[in-house]
């Protein structure tokens, strides 16, 4: 076995002003940085894509490297709803209820073709994409996506978290989006 050089990269500091003994930046950026690197995902895994997520959490890919080792199986404590797998129409109201129980700020990632669009299941019993019932922030294509792709999706969510207004829930766009889903 060859020894792998250990490469540990720390999260960089946000833009700001630095001088002797001080560093000044905006609160938005600090909180965005903290939130982005401590996402608690709620895995909503219903089928094959869920298996890829298990690999993503496993030692080889290790989502913990991105600050998400703590899965939250209670929606009330989760930041990120990860829907992975085919959602039957009967399951649609459950996804929606889980989303409603999550506290703001909350993000949603649709992993795989099924969660994004219904995938190969163009049939009467399958919801044709979870964006029919809840708003989605990031879509990960693939049937199933490889763990690298799922991690890429998470890093995209991190970018969103870092760059969004901290109080996005008060923005008119966000309110309009939720209203279009009949939420609140």
């Amino acid at each position: 076995m060859t020894e792998q050089p250990s490469q540990i990269t720390m999260v960089g500091a946000p833009d700001g002003h630095e001088g002797q003994g001080f560093f000044a930046t905006s609160l938005d950026k600090v909180i965005g940085l903290a939130r982005a690197n401590s996402i608690w995902p709620l895995p909503f895994a219903t089928s094959c894509c869920g298996i890829e997520f298990m690999a993503t959490m496993g030692a080889n890919y290790d989502l913990a490297r991105f600050g998400s080792e703590r899965l939250s199986f209670s929606p009330r404590q989760a930041d990120l709803l990860m829907v992975m797998g085919t959602i039957a129409k009967k399951m649609g109201p459950v996804v929606r209820q889980v989303y409603l129980q999550m506290a703001e700020p909350r993000w949603v990632i649709a992993v795989g073709a099924c969660a994004s669009s219904g995938g190969i299941f163009d049939t009467y019993s399958v919801l044709q994409g979870i964006d029919k019932v809840v708003p989605v922030d990031v879509y990960v294509p693939g049937c199933p996506p490889r763990p690298e792709q799922i991690i890429h999706g998470i890093t995209q969510i991190q970018e969103l978290i870092k760059n969004e207004s901290l109080r996005r829930r008060h923005t008119p766009e966000y309110k309009a989006l939720l209203a279009s889903y009949g939420i609140e």
Binding site: K89, K90, G118, D122, Y124
Partner: protein, 168 residues
């Protein structure tokens, strides 16, 4: 225990239910009987109880829809297995779409309960005497029976498909 033969089983059923059997066949070597819908429970009961046959396991119960088979559009198919003799047979009964009723066999096989509910869910077949005939797999709000051929299989809300890539 001596194994059963197709001839023996057919003979045993025919001697009891001569007038109830419409047609017999052995596709792929499996004895298949088309019978009158009203006599299904009696035949299954006989198959269950007869000491030589002992067909005591209901492998499968399912529906089928042949829209062009006038007055016999809907069918129910029963697969029973004699575990002791390792012998399987199949019964078919056809009913008209206009009056899709057939007696339930839940009194003989408890396992028929959910299978009849499934058949009702997908084909709308009414199993008379079923203790709790309601949908089992589809959403309760669904207003039709989706495996009837007049309904499209595909979901009309699909938006990401370009017909030209799907031969439509």
């Amino acid at each position: 225990m001596a194994g059963l033969t197709t001839e023996f089983v057919l003979e045993a059923i025919q001697s009891r239910f001569e007038n109830e059997i419409i047609h017999t066949d052995t596709p792929y070597g499996m004895l298949t009987l088309e019978v009158l819908p009203a006599s299904v429970p009696a035949i299954l009961q006989f198959l269950y109880e007869d000491d030589r046959l002992r067909f005591r396991f209901l492998t499968d119960l399912c529906g089928i829809h042949y829209p062009h088979q006038t007055a016999k559009e809907l069918g129910v198919i029963y697969h029973v297995h004699s575990l002791e003799n390792n012998f399987r047979i199949r019964l078919k009964a056809f009913i008209p779409e206009a009056n899709p009723e057939i007696p339930s066999v839940t009194s003989i096989f408890r396992s028929a309960n959910w299978q009849e509910r499934e058949t009702f869910d997908f084909f709308g077949i009414q199993f008379k005497g079923h203790p709790d005939l309601r949908r089992i797999l589809n959403m309760d709000e669904m207003s039709y029976h989706p495996l009837l051929k007049q309904y499209p299989l595909e979901d009309p809300t699909r938006t990401d498909k370009d017909d030209k890539y799907f031969g439509r």
